[in-house]
Structures are given as structure tokens and as C-alpha cells.
């Protein structure tokens, strides 16, 4: 089923179909994989610590358990945002390029426009970048970007970088003269 993105802007609605964009879908992949002595591909599995059960992919299931130990469907769960529940919906607003450049992009979606309102297009005509989230609690941020290739949705997170002055040199270099008794060799 095709996923869609609905954007409400000044009382109008725009909608897009959404497709995740990755290097694999754009350029293909180049990956390293383990092979056995005959060059056949190997697969990873999990071995329980007691050595009793060998668990290749497909032999386990992940459940979400609440504080009573009852299973909760994944679709019912919401991201915790400071105890306030789901993030509030926000109107898209144009933003400067620096705001997007100050974020690390986690996921990119290519959007195919189904219906784009004139209001949304007018907003994007300025910088070509609109922020879609309300900027709550500095968590996940979402940007709608329009360029010559079309529309994209970028989901990221603020970098948290701050301006530094002359007295803020990064001196966090490990101290060679530090104590040697905290080398926990048992954990190696």
C-alpha cells in the first residue's frame, strides 16, 4: 500500500505519495558480506548465552510489554515526548537554509505530488524549504524541500552544535598521565 503525506496549510490540504529514498534505491549498493570457504554467503544468527538455542532470522519475535507484562501492539505505541503525548500538529512555515543545515538528516523520502495547494507552493517559492513540525522539545524535525527534481521530506535531528569562542578550546584529549587502575580488562 502506498503511504501518503497530508500537509495542511492555511486551511488548504496538499497530499503526496511517499517513497523512502536511500542510496540503494538511487545508486544501488556495495556491501561486504561474510562467505564460507566455498564462497557461499553466510548469514548471521543469534546463539543464546547458555548455548541451547540457535536462532537464525525469523525464529524470534519482538513484543512490547507494558508495566503489567501485557503485550501492546506496535501500532498503538506513541513516541514519548516529555510526557505530553504526540507532538502537536503545526502549520508549515518557511525556514532558512541554515536551520536545515544545522540538523543531521536521518531519513529522506521522495514525495510525488498528488495535489499541492497554491498556498503551500507560495510558501515554498521563497526558500524552497519549509519546516513541518512544531519544534517541540528539540526532538525530531521535519523539512519539506522543493527543488528542480521535485519534493522531498527530510526527517532529522538538531545537531546541538554551539558557537565557540577563543577560550573554548577543545582540550578533551585523553590525559596520558591519568591513573591506570581503571582499565577494566575483564570487560574485554
Amino acid at each position: 500500500m502506498e503511504r501518503t503525506l497530508e500537509v495542511a496549510c492555511a486551511g488548504t490540504a496538499s497530499s503526496f505519495t511517499v517513497r523512502k529514498l536511500s542510496r540503494a534505491t538511487l545508486y544501488g549498493t556495495r556491501r561486504r558480506m561474510p562467505v564460507d570457504g566455498e564462497g557461499r554467503p553466510c548469514r548471521a544468527a543469534a546463539l543464546t548465552r547458555d548455548g541451547r538455542f540457535l536462532l537464525p532470522p525469523g525464529t524470534t519475535a519482538t513484543l512490547y510489554l507494558d508495566d503489567h507484562g501485557d503485550a501492546v501492539e506496535r501500532g498503538e505505541l506513541r513516541p514519548a515526548r516529555g510526557g505530553e503525548g504526540a507532538a502537536p500538529e503545526a502549520e508549515p512555515h518557511p525556514t532558512e537554509a541554515t536551520e536545515l543545515l544545522d540538523c543531521v538528516v536521518r531519513t529522506v523520502y521522495a514525495l510525488v505530488a498528488v495535489a499541492v495547494s497554491a498556498q503551500l507552493d507560495r510558501l515554498l517559492a521563497g526558500t524552497g524549504v519549509c519546516r513541518l513540525d512544531a519544534g517541540d522539545a528539540g526532538g525530531e524535525v521535519r523539512f519539506l524541500v522543493k527543488n528542480g527534481a521535485g519534493y522531498s521530506l527530510l526527517v532529522g535531528e538538531p545537531s546541538g552544535f554551539r558557537f565557540v569562542g577563543p577560550d573554548q578550546a577543545d582540550l578533551s584529549i585523553p590525559d596520558a598521565g591519568g591513573p591506570w587502575d581503571d582499565l577494566d580488562l575483564a570487560m574485554l
Binding site: G39, R40, R43, L77, A80, T98
Partner: protein
């Protein structure tokens, strides 16, 4: 990843400075609609010994396997099914399901439809940010807005000074880029033509250096990208 980078400015001077990764909060934890915390737990459905491929070896054909399944329920392990896995170790299995104690590596290249194009012995790629050759400005400037609309920057690092001399060096770079309102394409190797590789055998990225200043403070950031904002199918290999 090295926390150091050797970088050259537009005037051809280079210095070794610190790189600081992002301070990300990560994805927020999940909770129930009424705000109660949940815990993810992994349970065993059926261990390896009860899978079709293993059970199939016990019977000459599928019909007899079907009979075995009906009569003896060999696919169900009452001791294992529903158990929490607890902590596990990762092991590698060959296609026959045998645990391997040592493996080789192959590099597999696939096109965007997932079709394998080539398989070869992997070559080690060293990191190139803290070697003898610095990361250099290519001279190609890209306005901030165009960079933001054209690339997805999936990794970013802040460059920081370690003493007064490197403060002057980085502050000058940030001011130059701020005045230009642009990012500069930087790279490794002669003329900065090679992509940036942060770790040994790491993912190669194209790098752009962006800078801003506020009074005597600066923010100099290395933006790394390996993904262009375009529609699938528009890129030609």
C-alpha cells in the same frame, strides 16, 4: 573514528584540529497511549532445530513431512517456544546451517534493482582525515540554500580549535565562508578530488565545509553527504 582532522584553508595553510560529533538525543522511547512505558522483549518462536529446512532432512518428501507434522508436532518445541531469548551472541552460519568459526569476506555490488553486478575480494580503504595529506578546499562554493535543497547531510561534525593558533585559523575560515554565504566543497587527495572516509573501510562521503561567526565566536561544520535529493530513477549509474 579519529577525533582529529588535518584541514587546509583557502590560503594553503593547514592545521590539525578536533572534530566533535553531534550531541543527538536519539529517538524518543515508545509509550502506551495513556503514557505508560513499554519494554521491548525478544521471544523464541522456534529454534533452528525445528525449522522446515532441518525437518525436511528427516523425511524423503513433503508429503511424509506433512504427516510427521500432524502426528508428532516436531515443529513445536514446548521448552523453547515463548521463552525470552535473553542476551545472545552473534554467530555466522553457512547455507547448510552449520556454525562457522572463521569466514572470509566478499564485496558484492548490486544495481538499484538489487541485481548482483559483481562480486570481488574487498580492498581495505584507509581513513583519510588525519593522515599526512590534509582535507583541502576545492574552491567550489555552493550557496547554503542550494546545498540544503540539493543534498541530504546525513553526518555532520563540528571543527574546534585546540589552542590560540588554531582558533585564529578556524575563525578565519568560518568568517570567509560566512561572508560568502556558501559551503565549500572539500575533499581528500590531490585537489580534494577524493571523497572523505572517516573510518577505515568506512562509507565515503562528499564533504562541504560551512561556517558562521558571531562576534569573536565561530561555528565551523563539516557536512557530509552521500545522497542527492532527487527522484528514484533520475540518477544514471
Amino acid at each position: 573514528m579519529s577525533r582529529w582532522i588535518r584541514v587546509r584553508d583557502s590560503r594553503g595553510r593547514d592545521a590539525r584540529v578536533r572534530m566533535e560529533p553531534t550531541h543527538l538525543r536519539g529517538r524518543p522511547p515508545l509509550q502506551t497511549p495513556d503514557g505508560r512505558a513499554v519494554e521491548a522483549a525478544r521471544f523464541i518462536k522456534a529454534p533452528m532445530s525445528r525449522r522446515y529446512e532441518v525437518l525436511r532432512h528427516r523425511c524423503p518428501d513433503d508429503a511424509q513431512l506433512a504427516e510427521l507434522l500432524i502426528e508428532e508436532d516436531p515443529e513445536i518445541d514446548l521448552d523453547a517456544t515463548g521463552r525470552r531469548t535473553g542476551p545472545t551472541d552473534r554467530v555466522l552460519l553457512d547455507p547448510d546451517g552449520n556454525v562457522l568459526y572463521t569466514t572470509a569476506e566478499a564485496e558484492v555490488i548490486c544495481d538499484r534493482d538489487g541485481i548482483e553486478l559483481e562480486r570481488r575480494l574487498p580492498a581495505d580503504t584507509p581513513a583519510n582525515v588525519d593522515g599526512e595529506s590534509p582535507i583541502v578546499w576545492t574552491g567550489r562554493m555552493l550557496p547554503r540554500l542550494e546545498a540544503a535543497r540539493r543534498f541530504a547531510f546525513t553526518r555532520i561534525l563540528q571543527l574546534r580549535h585546540v589552542d590560540g593558533l588554531t582558533y585564529d585559523f578556524l575563525f578565519g575560515m568560518a568568517r570567509e565562508l560566512d561572508e560568502a554565504g556558501a559551503l565549500v566543497l572539500v575533499g581528500a587527495g590531490p585537489g580534494g578530488r577524493d571523497p572523505i572516509v572517516l573510518e577505515r573501510n568506512g562509507v565515503p562521503h562528499r564533504g562541504f565545509l560551512g561556517g558562521r561567526v558571531e562576534g569573536d565566536r565561530y561555528l565551523l561544520v563539516l557536512h557530509l553527504t552521500n545522497l542527492e535529493l532527487t527522484m528514484p530513477g533520475e540518477v544514471t549509474l
